[in-house]
């Protein structure tokens, strides 16, 4: 999702003057031109995003097992009534909250601290650091899973070897099979991939801040913490809100690949989340009705959250100028 795009419908929605006078025939024909240019993108997005979205809502009131030959049975709102009594729903919701909150140190807190602390560090050095810390972002999730699986392997992984040497553990940590550790391991990997990217986002925001504000505060004898609290954080608040919104909306989507490759939701469902649940309902227990009903509810829920975030961003956007 684009950083600018969040605010973009606003710009696009600016009133456009419409001329009412009659145009010659050729000009009127010309009017369908933009639609022709838009057609390929619109057809594809309509067919592969909006049509299936409507179908998901439709499927949510049927019972079906994904077999083309077996009939869909209309069940009304039964899928929705049963939704929260479904097995694993409670733990999936709880885990989603853990993923969301657990990712915030990586997407927000540490990057913010580092970006503020390392502002104006010299161009050359900063370019090298940027290139290095950004690296995880371009790696494929499956490759990332593979590497961390090796590093965090209970007996042969270098992390456990190091931990055993340093802290004299009595037994190695089973990062992906111990039910107390697994969700934190997945959260860590999700966060690791985001850390550098988020730091660069905040650094870019820091660079964009007019340094006169800071100079003015210094002349007024403000201390570093006062400057951070009263000057920098308010100026950075649009970016902070943006990253917070991204974390809230997408933490569970980002962690999906790691869950699927590394734990398959286990041990004892301790790493499953709501999106992984949609996957297991749909393609493992073939309960299409339950998956679709849950998908519909989560979609609307996250839609409301996104709307709230955008309203909040709009309210705070006067800091921008």
């Amino acid at each position: 999702m684009s950083y600018e795009a969040v605010g973009m419908p606003r710009h696009a929605a600016g009133a456009k003057p419409k001329s009412k006078e009659r145009k010659p025939f050729l000009l009127r024909l010309g009017r369908i031109k933009p639609y022709i240019y838009l057609l390929p993108a619109l057809v594809s997005i309509g067919y592969w995003i909006y049509k299936p979205l409507l179908q998901t809502f439709q499927l949510s009131i049927y019972q079906w097992n994904l077999l083309p030959t077996s009939p869909k049975q209309f069940v009304g709102l039964k899928n929705f009534n049963q939704l929260f009594s479904l097995p694993e729903m409670g733990i999936a919701l709880w885990n989603t909250l853990i993923y969301t909150l657990g990712v915030i140190p990586f997407s927000l807190i540490i990057p913010l601290v580092i970006a503020i602390a390392t502002d104006n560090i010299g161009r050359k050095a900063s370019n090298i650091y940027r290139a290095l810390i950004f690296l995880p972002m371009i790696m494929a999730p499956v490759a990332v899973s593979s590497v961390w699986r090796w590093i965090m392997h209970p007996t042969n992984g270098i992390l456990n070897k190091a931990l055993t040497d340093w802290f004299h553990l009595s037994e190695p940590i089973r990062f992906f099979t111990d039910e107390h550790w697994a969700i934190w391991s997945i959260t860590f990997i999700t966060g690791w991939k985001l850390l550098g990217f988020s730091t660069l986002i905040f650094s870019a925001a820091m660079t964009g801040i007019n340094k006169e504000y800071i100079e003015a505060a210094k002349i007024d004898r403000a201390g570093s913490f006062q400057i951070i609290w009263h000057v920098l954080l308010p100026l950075l608040s649009p970016t902070i809100l943006f990253m917070l919104m991204m974390s809230t909306l997408f933490a569970s989507e980002w962690s999906f690949s790691y869950i699927n490759v590394l734990t398959q939701g286990g041990p004892f469902n301790t790493t499953t989340n709501i999106y992984y649940l949609l996957w297991t309902y749909g393609f493992q227990s073939f309960n299409i009705g339950a998956s679709s009903a849950a998908a519909a509810v989560f979609f609307l829920g996250f839609g409301v959250l996104a709307w709230l975030f955008m309203r909040l961003t709009r309210k705070l956007s006067f800091f921008d100028n």
Binding site: A41, S44, W48, I49, I133, L135, I138, V142, V147, N156
Partner: protein, 277 residues
Amino acid sequence: MENAGRRAGLYTSAALKHASLVALALLAVFPLYWMIVTSLKPETEVFTSSLIPLHLTLDNYVHAWNAIPMGRMLTNSMVVAVIQTAAQLITSIFAAYAFTRWEFRGSSFIFGLIALTWLVPFQVIMIPNYVAISGFGWRDHLAGLIVPNIASAFAVLQLYNAFKSYPKTLIEAARLDGASDMGLLWRTIMPNLKAPVASIGILLFITSWNDYFWPLLVTTKLENTTIQKGLQMFISSDGNMWGALMAATTIASLPVLLIYLMLQRQIIDSFVKGGLK
């Protein structure tokens, strides 16, 4: 005295800055370093924690290459990523052109429809899309991987920003010179937007190359799938072949890593500008 103290303070703060960045860089790079190092170690050495490989070998690569149809899957990934990127660029160039060139009824509504797709998580629409692909008989077929992704809302939005920055007066001038709509797009605007189009293209290529979820859903056979899905199957199938697994992981990451090596600055810039999803 006070001056020296202040200078010392400045040095400490600079040292602290660098220390925190070095730590961050190490955390980011070490796993990749460890991946490559492990992949180059002989079997006897893989389980030692020596940070540098003492005896370099390519055995793991040979093993990985033979264990799964690596060449075939890499080709599949390349075909999918190249076609998908090209298609996404073309559809979004046309769309962005329409939005910037004309004022037309419903433009902000259509723009909103495209922009709002980021609110639709893949998992919410996967079942109907899976059914559609099955209906076309495109499961285990590259068309099933490519066709659903011939347009990208992300690309439309990014290109729209690039197009918007192109001066309207130059468009007007070319139009008065009698340029056709297509000519205007390809001969007047595009030559000036090569850089942003290229960096958006790179981003699309990386995204497509790294995609795992859709191949997971619509392909089952190793010969018909992309390298990401193949790698995942290799991960879950092997027992303790860490050297070979790291070799396979390195191969799967290589194209993207090479692109990054050459163009990191552009990639970082367009990611930071462009976003997350």
